[in-house]
Symmetry: C2
Subunit: 400 residues, 2 copies
């Protein structure tokens, strides 16, 4: 039996050639390694007709840290299986996985070369009108159809076991819920906001709420989550969005996916003054709040309709229960969005929304606002009963 080897471009070509009929026998293939990230090698393999596919191979360690931080390559199986499952329930917005190889820990998939990364688009001041609606549809469908509303107890339990994903979950458990609330060496805090960040380490009321959110992350397997649904996991073109990179997928609280995206939209919202002139910034912020409102409205409409018409368990058919369930998703989502704001500001992994703000003082202001808003979202999540109240809170928190 063969064993894992990191791909060269030639190996990536051979892999793509073997597992796809897209490339005819006589077509010439070329490949380039590009992008990639901390955890993967990524190749674009293309034939001389311009047809291309992506080969994504897991590295057995975190590249930025090196072999001292080994990481399961089983995450590639998770990624492939989550994307396939999500594609069953929302084919339009899930990237197409053509093939997965468990030995090479590699996926052959659709090339989204005509698409752009949502985070970059937002930072550039683009205002795609279809982002929120489409991703709301993606979340409502993928999360509903993998939940207890649809799956039998036995099927659900077997699926939970198939997607345990302990190592990737541990990363989130540590980086999102633990590190930012103590003086941890993994944290990355700019000196200018250190005093503000330190308040998190001694905020007992906040820690109690974050503990509850972490406990749910650990023990509330409501649906098969994407698990890392931030704005760099979504690709967009003029008509469509597609979700990629599901290696953090597992059965967890539905609000975690919704809250991850919500938090990333809010990060971008807070970063606007760092990227745009005053009037443009205000317009971009208005656009983002509209997207946030649409995201929840559409999600809640679709999810409600699915609960009403597609629920398989008679005991969960109660409309009253379903509306409370949705309310709880909103509350959870707001809480996880708050956690996302805080971890992207003081935790190990930041995002370009803040990092690409050149002016240090503006950046610090944005970061302090993120900590403040993050805290408010976490603390007030149970009191915010609709999306308008959330938007009011966001607008109100814009001053330090």
């Amino acid at each position: 039996m063969s064993e894992y080897k990191a791909f060269t471009t030639d190996a990536a070509i051979a892999f793509a050639d073997k597992h796809s009929e897209l490339f005819g026998e006589h077509s010439k293939l070329s490949a380039e390694e590009f992008g990639g990230d901390n955890l993967h090698l990524i190749f674009r393999v293309e034939n001389d007709k311009g047809t291309s596919l992506i080969v994504k191979q897991a590295l057995p360690y975190v590249r930025s840290v090196g072999e001292s931080w080994p990481l399961t390559t089983d995450r590639t199986r998770i990624e492939a299986e989550v994307l396939k499952m999500h594609r069953r329930f929302c084919p339009k917005h899930s990237v197409d996985v053509r093939y997965f190889d468990p030995v090479d820990c590699a996926i052959l998939m659709e090339d989204l070369n005509a698409y752009r990364i949502v985070r970059s688009e937002l930072i550039a001041g683009k205002k795609p009108g279809h982002l929120a609606l489409q991703i709301a549809n993606y979340m409502a469908n993928t999360l509903f159809y993998t939940s207890d509303f649809v799956l039998s107890g036995a099927t659900k339990k077997a699926e939970v076991a198939r997607f345990l994903n302990p190592e990737m979950c541990l990363i989130t458990e540590d980086l999102l819920f633990t590190d930012p609330y103590c003086n941890h060496e993994r944290n990355s805090i700019e000196p200018s906001i250190l005093e503000k960040a330190k308040t998190l380490w001694h905020d007992e009321a906040l820690k109690a709420e974050v503990a509850a959110l972490k406990a749910d992350f650990l023990s509330k397997p409501q649906a098969l989550l994407h698990g890392n649904l931030h704005s760099s996991s979504i690709f967009i073109d003029d008509d469509n969005c597609k979700v990629i990179a599901a290696e953090f997928g597992f059965f967890g609280p539905i609000g975690f996916d919704v809250g991850s995206l919500l938090g990333n939209l809010l990060l971008n919202y807070l970063a606007c003054p760092g990227h745009h002139a005053l009037e443009d910034s205000s317009e971009q912020q208005t656009y983002l709040l509209q997207q946030i409102e649409q995201l929840w409205q559409q999600f809640s409409e679709v999810f409600t309709e699915l609960m009403r018409t597609e629920t398989q368990d008679p005991a969960l058919e109660s409309g009253l229960y379903q509306s409370k369930f949705l309310q709880q998703i909103l509350s959870d989502s707001i809480g996880y969005a708050g956690c996302e704001l805080i971890r992207r500001t003081v935790g190990m992994a930041h995002t370009a929304d803040f990092e690409s703000i050149n002016d240090a003082s503006t950046r610090a202001t944005c970061q302090r606002l993120a900590i403040k808003l993050g805290r408010e979202l976490i603390m007030q999540r149970a009191e915010l009963s609709n999306i308008s109240q959330l938007l009011t809170l966001v607008r109100y928190q814009q001053t330090e």
Copy 2:
């Protein structure tokens, strides 16, 4: 490889002889089949010195229904593994499993022949003073040490997968949470309370709350539960209690175990007028309410102390979070106790507490009170913030 065969007494002797050193080479063994239940064959194997052990073998179907209701024999593995795990954390009150055989689906274990079944004792008007304290210790230790407070994410997830127990969970999902709230053929309802039972089928507010409790049963793997902790799963002698029969064990909401026992104590409480003369009944009820109070007080004291001193995850060390967590266990427990009262009154499987009341009119009164109290517990569980309030509610509900 050998295959499953239902044991004869001779086979039970051979099994016990082979897997225990208790029986010397020359001792004469005898066996009797006794007790047993819907799901098992049970043998007592004894040598001529009076030393005895129990052989418990799973039947591959529900005996009262026959081979048309097949049932996984994997439940014996679950039972053995849960009891072993619980014995690690509370050896005093968990029956000692000596050996488990996956082919025979049989367990060799400690004989509790000097013990009596708690339910029978309570029906007979006994007032053991050590019941609540000891079982509270059992629950606090077994549930705490298998929870996220102690287990790492990776260990916990692996354990969740090891104890999925889908078939046994399905029985509870159906019989406890679904059937009683609709006109299901599995229900067993005495004609005299049919009108009262029917109110459950159209009680939308109640159904919404039961749905939430069922959803938690499906998707809240807080700790490794016993899963069926009623008063016939506990054996007692003059000094000690031991828990048996963990074949329903799985990772679920902590309040489910606490609530199962609470519900069974309340069943017995409501049945008192059917078993005892007026004054005796009142004394027995006073005793039972004291036990209920002790059960929660002791559980909450021990669990609180364990959370305070033994929590391994720094993110869950918040005292404020821990006290909210305990509050939620109380609320869940009260809800599941309410479900237990209702399912034992109108569902498929009743208990001797009511069934052994000879006077039909008294029995009907008890059953109607159980439905009424069950409903109140479910509906008011979030408002009852301490055990005194629960006891007040119970006393107040004693009239139809």
